[in-house]
């Protein structure tokens, strides 16, 4: 269905049919990780709320993709939603919706928290 030469995606390694199978689109994952879907949803919600102009976002995305491609001529390490997230961060701080210092402070706070802080129990997921 797709050309292996230009299709570097580990989605096919995941459970394809069981009850835990994520939603698929013609045999392919729509999002490869939860943060990708979050980044997608946040951008659409911001646009829906009238906070960002979609054409501004698109221009920002084009710039990020262009910069990434210029810095990585081999294409190694490509992740589309990394570019998406960076353009969203730049647009949000550039338009003043969130000051870049606030974003940095929140990141420092989240990064400083111990792993697993969100879980009600400890880390023994295999017992659950």
């Amino acid at each position: 269905m797709t050309a292996p030469e230009i299709h570097a995606d580990a989605a096919y390694l995941l459970d394809a049919a069981g009850p835990a199978a994520p939603p698929r689109d013609n045999g392919e994952l729509v999002f490869a990780a939860p943060w990708e879907s979050q980044a997608f949803g946040v951008a659409l919600a911001l646009h829906d709320a009238g906070c960002i102009d979609w054409e501004d976002f698109r221009r920002s995305l084009i710039r990020e993709i262009g910069e990434w491609e210029a810095a990585h001529p081999s294409g190694e390490g490509w992740n589309y939603y990394e570019c998406w997230l960076r353009s969203l961060e730049r647009l949000v701080s550039g338009t003043g919706l969130v000051a870049v210092g606030d974003l940095r402070a929140r990141l420092d706070l989240l990064a400083a928290r111990p792993a697993g802080h969100d879980h009600r129990h400890d880390h023994r997921h295999d017992d659950e």
Partner: protein, 196 residues
């Protein structure tokens, strides 16, 4: 600092961004989740497949679709972001259309959902313009040299969808049966609809 720290875990960065935007009342979790769910589950190539099947079975609809893609697609109830300016390209035995977005990832969401990873890949975006015949061959589509390949670059103004050729031997198929045959790749132009 002048830019956001992109060496950090993207999951943390999304969380930081989303939490700040939520606290400022600019977005809410339910709306974010709703958009994700919509594009994971409800909007996808099955929409475009219905458009194609209708065009194959209703000559009047086909004419309207080729004349004004946006309006004809909206007749079937498909509209929304990234589908405001739809142009439908009809494949024939002598002309084969294929769609790309060279600069980013413009794609007709209402009819095809979100683009597959290869559509966003730098290799596809640059190579299909330079060597479309070879790229199509890698997708398993070996077109005769006599077939003209036209590559269409999506933009902020236009989103393209390909109307593939109806496969032979489907004269007795119902519209719903035809829709089941139509694939996403055929509507992007990197495949033909397989003969059943």
């Amino acid at each position: 600092m002048t830019s956001t720290p992109d060496h950090l875990d993207p999951a943390l960065r999304v969380q930081a961004l989303a939490s700040l935007l939520t606290e400022r009342g600019l977005i809410d979790e339910a709306t974010v989740e709703n958009f994700i769910k919509t594009y994971e589950q409800s909007v996808g190539p099955m929409n475009g497949a219905k458009v194609v099947a209708r065009a194959w079975t209703d000559p009047g609809y086909r004419a309207r679709l080729l004349a004004d893609g946006t309006a004809a697609i909206a007749e079937l109830g498909f509209k929304g972001p990234q589908g405001e300016h739809m142009v439908v390209l009809e494949n024939t035995p002598t002309v084969h259309h294929v769609v790309v977005c060279t600069l980013c990832s413009c794609y007709p969401w209402p009819v095809l959902g979100l683009p597959p990873s290869w559509y966003k890949d730098p290799a596809y975006r640059s190579r299909v313009v330079r060597e479309p015949r070879q790229v199509l061959r890698e997708f398993g589509l070996d077109l005769d040299d006599s077939v003209e390949i036209r590559v269409h670059d999506s933009s902020s103004e236009v989103r393209y969808m390909v109307l593939p050729e109806r496969p032979a031997g489907t004269g007795h198929y119902s519209e719903a049966e035809l829709a089941d045959l139509v694939t996403r790749d055929a509507m992007v132009g990197v495949a033909k609809v397989p003969v059943p």
